[in-house]
Symmetry: C2
Subunit: 378 residues, 2 copies
């Protein structure tokens, strides 16, 4: 490894946005206990903790978490090693450009040579080593050189099926980057396709799934943010200047509520791709965003009672001629008789019964409960 490669890896700082309720996993996941605070794989670790542990070999203690102020205590409980200075608390959700942009701005003020990597707190990845190898390639590909400001590098997931639930990355030509043999340019990001388009994408071999993971020099991130969202950029910079001072609370309270809401995809990734500043490391690790309860079945196939996948410590499940998924955080006896592909989510104050085929419709149900004023269980 060359000295400049070593420097790039040493400049890496991980950022974990821990937001999003995970409405499609209601009633397990909800405002007070979002998806990232659950162990959805039966591993014994919450998704947040597993994300931290997966990044630790790459970033050491250089790890920042961005989350809602309501989750402060739960996040600190999960990650006691994260100091207050690395915990960015949002008083209200402002979408991903503000969350990730603030992390970039704070890190840039501390050290403008930092290469940040942003990885959602609620995805399931395995094996860790394959993921870490891809991120190392991404860091080396992202690193600025004498003649370049570096790249914004996304990790592309090799599609296993023609999913219509994810955005795609159109992969361009191979890049010649020492230590990053898989690096390619990105032609464009494309939105969730219809079925026929997804099948075309898969067949072509030119597309990866966009898992929303990227690695980039903070300076390059902020350059694109400034260009595309100058108001957001200015606000984030003002907060960042106050961050490591005793003005943090006052400035954040004043400015954060005024910031525009926009996704990082629109504020940075897509325009940067159009400008030729985005690369991709296509990677073959197993990735799951645990988008619904059908995923729980896939991710926990080892924990089966007959043909029923069971997730839940101390679960007491009795099945007879049944198949599907049971998620429980109660100790109730659950008996399933003569019912197939059922999804049962059993919590102290809410019970969901649906089928694996209809698991995606849980979000609509939650919207209806909200409209009905059943806020106590959301």
């Amino acid at each position: 490894m060359t000295p400049s490669q070593l420097t790039a890896l040493e400049n890496f700082h991980a950022v974990i946005p821990a937001g999003g309720v995970g409405t499609r996993l209601w009633p397990l996941s909800r405002a007070a206990a979002p998806k990232f605070l659950h162990d959805l794989t039966g591993s014994g670790s919450t998704l947040l903790r597993a994300t931290y542990d997966r990044l630790h070999p790459l970033a050491g203690d250089r790890m920042m978490v961005v989350t809602g102020v309501a989750h402060r205590e739960a996040v600190c409980h999960q990650l006691p090693e994260v100091p207050d200075s690395e915990l960015v608390l949002e008083s209200e959700p402002k979408d991903s450009a503000a969350a990730i942009g603030l992390a970039a701005a704070i890190l840039h003020r501390r050290d403008p040579s930092i290469i940040m990597g942003s990885f959602a707190a609620d995805h399931v990845i395995s094996p860790d080593q394959t993921f870490q190898a891809a991120v190392r390639e991404a860091i080396l590909t992202a690193a600025p050189a004498e003649d370049s400001e570096g790249k914004i590098v996304t990790i592309g997931i090799e599609p296993s099926h023609p999913s219509t639930g994810f955005g795609y990355i159109r992969i361009g030509e191979a890049l010649s980057v020492a230590g990053a043999p898989h690096a390619h340019s990105v032609v464009e990001f494309v939105e969730k396709p219809d079925q026929a388009t997804a099948e075309k994408y898969l067949k072509s071999g030119d597309f990866s799934w966009n898992a929303g993971m990227f690695v980039a020099p903070v300076a390059l991130m902020l350059k694109h943010l400034e260009k595309n969202e100058p108001e957001l950029y200015a606000g984030l910079n003002e907060i960042a200047e106050a961050w490591d001072t005793d003005q943090r609370g006052e400035v954040t309270a004043r400015i954060w509520p005024t910031l525009p809401k926009i996704a990082i995809d629109y504020a940075v990734a897509e325009p940067a791709a159009a400008a030729g500043d985005v690369a991709v490391i296509p990677a073959a690790f197993r990735w799951d965003d645990v988008g619904d309860f059908a995923a729980i079945g896939r991710l926990n196939s080892a924990n089966e009672v007959d043909d029923v996948t069971v997730l839940g410590e101390g679960a007491r499940v009795f099945t007879e001629d049944a198949s599907g998924v049971v998620v429980t955080d109660t100790k109730r006896v659950i008996a399933l008789i003569g019912i197939d592909d059922v999804v049962i989510v059993d919590t102290p104050d809410a019970l969901l019964v649906t089928t694996t085929a209809h698991a995606q419709r849980v979000k609509a149900a939650v919207d209806a409960l909200k409209a009905n004023g059943d806020m106590d269980v959301l």
Copy 2:
């Protein structure tokens, strides 16, 4: 009405056997809270209370309840008007011949001219007036005359479909009984038939369902019991002699555990029918023994949330594209999405999910839970 008819009606004394866990209604119905202690029709009354109220216009306060000692408090809470002398507590279940026979023996010692009527505590009947009219006919048919010891009279339910879940009564010739125009002799009782036989029965018009209700002079009941089960008869008589004395507890504790277990059908009804001593009043009231959760759907069709029948005070059920039955005695939100003919029974410590088609299999599940040692929820 003639004086002898009036005397017969005045001699009527109702007996309500309140036994049986109702295993097919687990986890709602269970050892600690059997079927008769639940309101399964949304009427606001438990089945036991509704049975008492249905018999009160016929029997007034002449009403005896036979139940397990464990249910004493619950039964007294439901029926505060029943005095201690009319509450027969079984220290252990001894099947219906002992339960009903003891009631007959106690009543016979008090007044040998009593005509008893036995009606299970956990059936649903409507309208009450049609039932009461049939029982009145049964009393008049049962009444002894100068030249006869009277009859054991069963109430036959007009079959609505070729059920294989009930026993049948083969109806004989019409009897000429003043005030009982529907009275017929009984040729025989027949066991639960197979489908083809049930269809044949229905088509012939000569059969009623056997709902286990009968009206009979206590003297005639005891005569048949003595003939068929002399050991049981002797034991019951010994308890009955001590019943209204301060020896009741001691004698009952000594003798009850030694009594043979046999159903009243074998000990009295079938042999009495063979001897030509049984009559039937075929009746057309609506009768349901609430044999499984599919019955809950039938009996509560007014309480529908979309296509889902909901039973439970304060139930919070949200449905989308779902049908079936929800029974809950919790206040949890229950969301059903994209699932048909489902049966959900939600209790604080146990949850059952099955389908209306498989509702009869709940008993097997309970047996399996028992075998597994999950006694806390049975």
